[in-house]
């Protein structure tokens, strides 16, 4: 059973659960009707998740990713609350930064886009596919490298939970390269083309 079939069945199950929850009953008729609607929807709108072959699932890392996501959301709210209440001129230096990403699977990318928007001070403005670059609007822009590191941190968490080992190593290598460049005060290095 390929990963795509598993994903499709998972989608049908989830949609049927939602159907039953909204209808507030789990009688046989409701479940069957829900399943029919779910299957019809899954066939009509196939998921564009692309190639699912690189997906791993590590439960502990997955839990850590979700907790981290929630923690980021709370921190983001604290930052926003501070910016609204406190003398706002003191903190706000908005800017738009282009961040090239370590290539990753479509699933990781979609989760990453959602997660970055919920991270303190970052918001996705544009996504470019070939090569993979994000344009990110930042509320408090201190250093460009800081933004890159923030995105990488989120990406690392997601790849650790759902991505192949090779991508995880590539992300770590990129983090190291950025930190090294920051030590010397040099500009942000280009993304090396070593990941297949």
């Amino acid at each position: 059973m390929s990963a795509r079939t598993v994903a499709r069945i998972g989608a049908v199950v989830w949609l049927t659960i939602v159907w039953c929850a909204v209808m507030e009953s789990i009688s046989l008729g409701t479940v069957v009707a829900g399943a029919v609607v779910a299957i019809a929807l899954t066939l009509l709108f196939p998921s564009r998740s692309g190639n699912l072959s690189g997906v791993r699932f590590r439960p502990l890392a997955f839990l850590a990713m979700n907790l981290g996501l929630f923690g980021d959301l709370v921190r983001a709210n604290i930052q926003v609350a501070w910016a609204v209440i406190a003398p706002r001129r003191a903190g706000l230096r908005p800017g738009i930064v282009l961040v090239p990403l370590v290539p990753c699977t479509e699933l990781v990318l979609q989760l990453l886009l959602n997660a970055v928007s919920l991270t303190p001070g970052t918001l996705i403005v544009e996504v470019r596919r070939e090569p993979l670059v994000l344009a990110i609007h930042v509320l408090q822009l201190h250093t460009e490298a800081g933004v890159h590191l923030e995105v990488l941190r989120v990406q690392r968490r997601i790849v650790a939970a759902l991505g192949p080992r090779a991508t995880l190593d590539a992300v770590d290598a990129r983090i190291e390269a950025l930190r090294a460049a920051a030590e010397h005060g040099g500009p942000v290095p280009d993304l090396t083309e070593e990941v297949s």
Partner: protein, 115 residues
């Protein structure tokens, strides 16, 4: 006579409503659309999650709790997408950026490379 659930619900509801109020004040305090989008979407997302948690404690019917969970998950998934689309639309339709904007690397990049 208030039970523990009542106290927790009260805290959650007040926190949620405060976040929503801050988001709406943020619509005025920030200079440009992109910054306002930060405040609106992040605060409101957490606000919906908190109010769903608070209301779930008060409801007697488990079916209602399922609906609240679905609403919270839906909000958490859709808010970043809304923020991105509004931000992208605002940027490409030429709204003025805040006078504090330090860097705008997007303006230098080629326009045709974005889909």
């Amino acid at each position: 006579m208030s039970t523990a659930a009542d106290v927790v619900t009260s805290i959650l509801l007040l926190a949620s409503v405060t976040l929503v109020l801050l988001a709406c004040i943020g619509l005025y305090r920030f200079d440009d659309v992109l910054s306002r989008t930060h405040a609106a979407t992040k605060s409101i997302t957490l606000g919906v999650i908190l109010v769903a948690a608070g209301a779930a404690l008060q409801l007697r019917d488990p079916g209602d709790t399922a609906k609240l969970i679905i609403a919270a998950v839906l909000q958490m998934v859709s808010a970043p997408v809304t923020a991105h689309i509004i931000g992208r639309a605002a940027y490409w339709s030429g709204t003025d950026l805040s006078p504090d904007t330090v860097v705008d690397q997007l303006a230098d990049a080629d326009v045709d490379q974005f889909d």
